[in-house]
Symmetry: C2
Subunit: 226 residues, 2 copies
């Protein structure tokens, strides 16, 4: 019997793909307006390439994009301001995030988070989303010393809340980290079809989710059936 | 005859002392609320000491304050969110900043900035203040390779706008960097008595300002008299 529902953060509690895309577009537009000598679409494409190459937690993407251009620091600063303003505007939970978690808590389920990322950055997101006080456990890869799909993360969440993996449901958006990890951990795996990974195809049994949902609220129906 | 009016940024165009104090207080309160085991006043004092020791552009003050306390990353994240929210709220020009600069421009004066700091950070401030398009030159220490009171900064501003130092007025809040630098550069030096340096006493002729004002708008009266 399911006793705990555990969530991924990005693209599960809020639309991080959309947020990041809008923030990058706003940044690029601001930089071009400020003098970056490149068409907006080309600048956007190059920025995406730089993020793919150096990772999203690298903090010199704009510097590399602008290079040694005249007035470079002013252009970079304009990009940073636009990026952060836009990121903040779009850092809002999905409409059904808070209602779903609230209902689950009222029904007596333990609630938790298992997420990859830098601990302070992931906590910042939860705090800005206003969700930080809702969880019985928050497991973050940097603190756990392992990343999804490593079992350590899933086991840590279980031991924090004192629930067996088979009595946990895990909801994530990625097959190659979330679903494969939850399956291996022997949790009930649920795939939320939102964000940039929604078109991934399972490669076999190991990354096939037990359930697929389009909105978080559908979790309540699955739990009723189980 | 004065042809150009040059400004320091912090505590001259906006109240950086007040902004930073309020942001640090908000951060400390948020961290204590989140579990930092320290009275608010003690935490504030220790934070100020850490800033004095490591400088304001170091980015691990909160980490050092929190140390290895349980739930440390969550506490640090709460501090960062409160800090940035408050900093943004207080990043507003003084009431008379924009009217004064606008009047000076209408009267035909060249307008500029000479400031110490990291180039991208100083540009970010000007952009967030909404003042970035008003200046004929912006000289920032990191780009100029020297800090106030070094003459290089003052000479660079003059050469950018094609005005002799003796025809420039420089307005700053610190005797030991702004006033001494402007005096040595042979500019007309004006001290704005705002922010945390307003109680500094001149040590001699070299750091004695030609004028002292309490509000930026008084510059217009001085220029009328000159």
């Amino acid at each position: 019997m399911i006793k705990a529902v555990l969530f991924d953060v990005d693209n599960v509690l809020y639309s991080s793909s959309h947020q990041v895309e809008m923030a990058r577009r706003a940044a690029v537009e601001a930089m071009v307006k400020e003098g970056l000598e490149m068409p907006v679409e080309e600048a956007f494409k190059r920025l995406e390439e730089l993020v793919a190459k150096y990772g999203s937690n690298f903090n010199k993407h704009f510097d590399l994009l602008v290079g040694s251009q005249k007035r470079g620091n002013r252009i970079i600063a304009a990009g940073i301001v636009a990026y952060h303003n836009t990121k903040r505007t779009y850092l809002k939970p999905y409409n059904d995030t808070l209602p779903t978690i609230t209902k689950l808590k009222n029904l007596g389920y333990k609630i938790g988070v298992i997420t990859d990322g830098l601990a302070i950055k992931q906590w910042e997101k939860l705090i800005r989303l206003g969700l930080q006080d809702l969880f019985d456990t928050v497991v973050i890869s940097e603190e756990a010393g392992a990343e999804k799909p490593d079992q350590k993360l899933f086991q840590k969440a279980c031991s924090d809340i004192g629930v067996e993996p088979k009595d946990c449901m895990y909801i994530g958006d990625r097959l190659d980290t979330d679903i494969i990890g939850a399956n291996r951990a022997n949790m009930v795996s649920v795939r939320l079809l939102r964000g940039k990974y929604k078109d991934q195809k399972p490669s076999g049994l190991q990354d096939r989710p037990n359930y697929e949902i389009k909105r978080l609220g559908e979790v309540l129906e699955i739990l009723k059936e189980l």
